[in-house]
């Protein structure tokens, strides 16, 4: 029998606050955590979760991952003691960039004072697998543990990979998600130089006035568990990863393939992997970056993958409320999606107000909208697309 993967805990640090409840409740209420053109996690204090010594050995993205993992494991009833033998518990955490603040700081020291001034902590601070390593060390996890790097699709790839590890029988539980904290001088200048970020500082996915993404930071961690084992220990099930689809555009380093052909294929693969069809999809959590190119190609991809269902299904973007969390986005948005299904409420694309020709889906303007008829489980897809043309799509149920 095919092993199924359920979600038994979620944890988040986002510009809407520390904790997954702040993310779900405030986005659903149409609130936005972006200030001064960036989605910063102003409420996050690493010393609430780490000793001074632990904190200074982790870059901000890994600190946030530790905080989100503590929340998620606590909710799963695994914060103090693991419910499985440690080798059966893994940790897969994606990031787009890794410890960029540390890299920039150490580069400054190198230039200013020479090689002897570079910290011995520089490598463990900036390595892309630092979040996975820190969480595994803290909770004594000994199963499959590594970082995933696929730009803005990393969080979704991490969850997809983690679900595959469980389905393959290599783990019973995986602590999985994404983390990013790259609101730095180099990153903001670089994204601006390539014309990717918003000059207005407003994240307005699918709106005619959109002018680029707004950079954000944060972390999202989900506890994935084999369904039978979770049931046997009486864990509360929040949702399920029903399917996963991944493709690559193989087209351009940064621009999406204009018709969204491979993105559409990833959506189709995720739905097929779930044993479902397009008509089963109740909600779409879009990648919806607020860039002119993504929102157009993603709209085309949804039409291609969902056919007639695309005209009716509510589509909203978490990035309208928190900005673009890069490698954390896919994981934070998976949490937002599961919470939306659990509340049976599609949160709005905050600030959407002007339609553009061809961008004619139901982007859930103004306010949250009830989802589905009756009280059966709801199905959603959550899209994540990264520079490099990497497409990762999750089919989620709750």
């Amino acid at each position: 029998m095919k092993r199924r993967v359920v979600i038994t805990g979620v944890g988040a640090v986002t510009p809407l606050g520390v904790g997954s409840a702040a993310l779900a409740e405030r986005w659903s209420a149409g609130e936005c955590g972006i200030e001064d053109g960036a989605g910063r996690c102003r409420d996050f204090d690493p010393l609430d979760f780490l000793s001074k010594k632990e904190a200074r050995r982790l870059d901000r993205f890994a600190q946030m991952a530790v905080a989100a993992a503590a929340e998620a494991l606590g909710q799963a009833g695994a914060g103090e003691e693991l419910p499985y033998e440690a080798h059966r518990v893994g940790c897969v955490i994606g990031t787009g960039i890794g410890g960029l603040p540390s890299l920039e700081e150490q580069q400054g020291k190198l230039i200013e004072s020479g090689p002897k001034a570079v910290s011995p902590l520089a490598v463990p601070l900036m390595m892309g697998n630092a979040a996975a390593a820190a969480v595994a060390m803290r909770h004594d996890l000994h199963g499959h543990t590594y970082g995933v790097v696929s730009a803005c699709a990393a969080g979704a790839h991490a969850l997809g990979d983690a679900s595959r590890i469980i389905r393959a029988g290599d783990a019973d539980m995986v602590v999985a998600g994404g983390a990013e904290a790259a609101i730095t001088g180099v990153a903001t200048a670089a994204f601006e130089a390539m014309g990717a970020t918003s000059a207005s500082g407003v994240s307005r996915p699918f709106d005619a006035r959109r002018d680029g993404f707004v950079i954000g930071e944060g972390a999202g961690i989900l506890i994935l568990e084999e369904a039978g084992a979770a049931a046997a220990r009486g864990a509360e099930v929040l949702g399920e990863i029903r399917g996963y689809g991944a493709t690559c555009d193989g087209f351009h380093l940064t621009a999406p393939q204009p018709e969204g052909l491979e993105a559409a294929r990833a959506i189709g693969l995720a739905i097929a992997d779930a044993g479902l069809s397009a008509t089963d999809v109740d909600y779409v959590n879009a990648h919806g970056t607020s860039t002119p190119l993504n929102d157009r190609s993603e709209t085309m991809a949804l039409k291609l993958a969902l056919g007639e269902r695309a005209a009716d299904v509510p589509v909203s973007s978490t990035k309208s409320a928190v900005g673009h969390l890069l490698g954390a986005a896919g994981a934070v948005e998976a949490i937002a999606t599961v919470e939306a299904l659990r509340r049976r409420l599609a949160p709005p694309t905050v600030g959407w107000g002007e339609a553009e020709e061809g961008l004619d889906l139901d982007y859930v303007p103004d306010r949250a909208r009830p989802l589905g008829n009756g009280d059966g489980p709801l199905i959603a897809i959550s899209n994540s697309f990264g520079f490099g043309g990497h497409n990762a799509v999750l089919c989620l149920a709750a």
Binding site: S51, K52, K53, E54, A55, R56, R57, K116, A117, S119, P120, L121, P124
Partner: protein, 82 residues
Amino acid sequence: MTTEVSTDRVEETIYDGLVELGTERSALSREATLESLDVDSLDLVELAQIVEDEFGVELRGDDVKDVRTVGEVIELVVAKAG
């Protein structure tokens, strides 16, 4: 560039350095072992950088590999600076 370095000054620098690295000041004493303070090899490299900045004394891995207590670190630095 090294001048006469007083033991008190070295102690102050080492103590301040360890606090900067995350050790509780109240736990510090000359008798405290590095192990009991959770001071590991990465901390020692950072501490060596602080010492070199302050006194121009270079501590290498071989120098500190047998050091067990905070007091021994202080003595090593004083001896090297002398």
